[in-house]
């Protein structure tokens, strides 16, 4: 059963007469209660992907289905309904909360917009329950966002996202703005909420270690394309795309004893501009395996795990 499906999503932006290929053909399925981790470096299109999934941007091509219904072909009424099923937690807890509203008003706003979800008399109680659920005190409802730390603010954002009891929550770098001792708290909370509510997550992050802790399946993005997908074990233990291997190799291992024992793969250069992506395989300009074929023919994800002409053999 598929809860959320992306089918050939493409998003191009026109910037000063040039086309930015932000997302260029991304497809995936997400089952209820599942977490899909989306990893990639800046410019890979992961944030644009989140906006497309939330219908904040219209795709140049492709479709998004929620419970089988085409999100971009929905009448307004049905779209309101969709908002209840798909919610999002934003990256920056400092700008994602209206500084002029109390925490209670922020977390209760979903009920003001969707008045049929909860009778007026229940809203105050529901808000307090939500705050309690994300580890804040019910009396925090009367305070303002600036009176909270980053981690607490992110909890407020999570409570707001949960108010309508969504089936899937898109998390766009939900902890990257937080301190390291707080990151684990929020990740634990997200995992706990998933168990409690049977939520599905699309967890977008550049931090591979975090994604490994939370995700069931992983999609690795590079310049607007998914270059490798698989289960967490597959992708992290036996990566087949050269980019995935390089990415994993670049993550510093928090164990000094392993220093010098691992032979790191070091990519040269940086991600090319998405305005003018390389022909054929987009990774070829930084790939140590690249051949002539890679410049002319674009590898497809197909049935294999990696979109690569010369993937590592599956062991």
């Amino acid at each position: 059963m598929t809860l959320l499906r992306a089918d050939g999503l493409v998003k191009h932006f026109a910037v000063r007469g040039r086309t930015v290929h932000a997302v260029d053909g991304v497809s995936f399925d997400l089952a209820p209660g599942e977490t899909l981790g989306v990893v990639g470096e800046s410019g890979c299109g992961k944030s644009t992907l989140a906006k497309l999934l939330m219908r904040l941007e219209k795709p140049t091509a492709g479709r998004v289905y929620v419970d089988g219904a085409d999100v971009f072909a929905m009448p307004a009424r049905q779209l309101r309904r969709l908002r209840r099923d798909v919610q999002m937690v934003l990256q920056d807890p400092y700008t994602s909360l209206n500084p002029r509203m109390t925490v209670g008003a922020i977390v209760g706003e979903p009920f003001d917009i969707h008045r049929d979800v909860a009778p007026r008399g229940d809203r105050r109680r529901l808000v307090r329950e939500l705050l309690d659920r994300v580890g804040l005190r019910p009396e925090d409802a009367d305070r303002y966002p600036h009176q909270f730390s980053g981690g607490q603010r992110q909890r407020i954002g999570i409570a707001r996202a949960l108010a309508l009891r969504p089936k899937v929550v898109i998390c766009d770098e939900p902890v990257s703005a937080l301190d390291m001792s707080i990151q684990a708290q929020v990740v634990n909370l997200l995992a706990d909420l998933q168990r409690g509510y049977g939520l599905a997550y699309v967890f977008i992050a550049h931090d591979l270690t975090l994604v490994r802790r939370l995700a069931h399946r992983v999609a690795v993005m590079y310049l607007g394309k998914v270059v490798e997908t698989g289960t967490v074990t597959e992708v992290y233990e036996r990566p087949t795309h050269p980019y995935t291997r390089a990415l994993l190799s670049a993550v510093p291992v928090p164990d000094p004893a392993l220093r010098g024992r691992l032979t790191p793969i070091r990519l040269t250069g940086e991600v090319p501009s998405p305005t003018d992506p390389p022909s054929g395989c987009r990774f070829r300009t930084r790939c140590w395996k690249a051949q002539d074929l890679c410049a002319t023919e674009e590898p497809v994800l197909g049935l294999g795990r990696a979109a690569c002409h010369f993937p590592e053999p599956l062991r």
């Binding site: 700008t95 994602s96 209206n98 706003e109």
Partner: protein, 281 residues
Amino acid sequence: MRSGAWRALRRRPVFWVPVAILVVVLAMAVAPRLFAGADPADCTLDRSMAPPSGAAWFGYDFQGCDVFARTVYGTRSSLLVGVLATALAGLIAAGVGMASGYLGGWLDSVLSRLTDIVLGIPLLLAAIVLLHRATANGSGHGIWPVVGTLGILGWTTAARVVRSSVLAARQQDYVQAARMLGAGHGRILVRHIAPNAVAPAVVVLTITLGTFIASEATLSFLGIGLRAPSISWGGDIFAAQARLRQAWWPLIWPSTFLAVTVLAFIMLGDAIRDAFDPRSR
């Protein structure tokens, strides 16, 4: 939010001082009789330019009218012109600024150019032309032509402030969050965007109010603002400056009232701006 701003305002002397002044000024405008015993129209040339005395603390002007009474009675039209012109300017600014900032696109380009053009017109020069025409029609004028002229010419700064606040607020993550919750344009504008524009707009508008009162005075001073029998500070200042060497008192009192009132509005604007920002409370 409003109660929070109010709670913050209540604690501040910078708020209460201008409020106290403005309450007095407002009371003068509403019921001048309570403040001035003398009738401003009771003028006899016998008393022409009689200096301040026990009978008339502020003295008499050239026409032999009680300066204090005229100043008090002048409050009404000065304040009325200021408030009404500001209300008009505020409405235009809110409409233009919000449409421009929220809807964007070609509408924004058109409205922004329009704002630039109006901003480029010198207020007084245009007011002279417009009011001169109004006078030429033979209608004579009360406050409406002055209000209209000031309002139509004086909305631009506020509109720019509204536009830029709306523009900045529109890109905030919390506006995006509201969109994702399914909030409509109305709700997003009222709950999330407008409050950001209110504080800076109120500040600009209170200051504008002060300048409008001053502009009315200037126009009346130039002889094209309010006309007799309307009494206004500007008109009296105009009449007094011609004979400043003989008598300073007919000039000083309306000028002082004008300056204090304008200053009170500007102080109030500052206090309100601070109070509207929960972070500065």
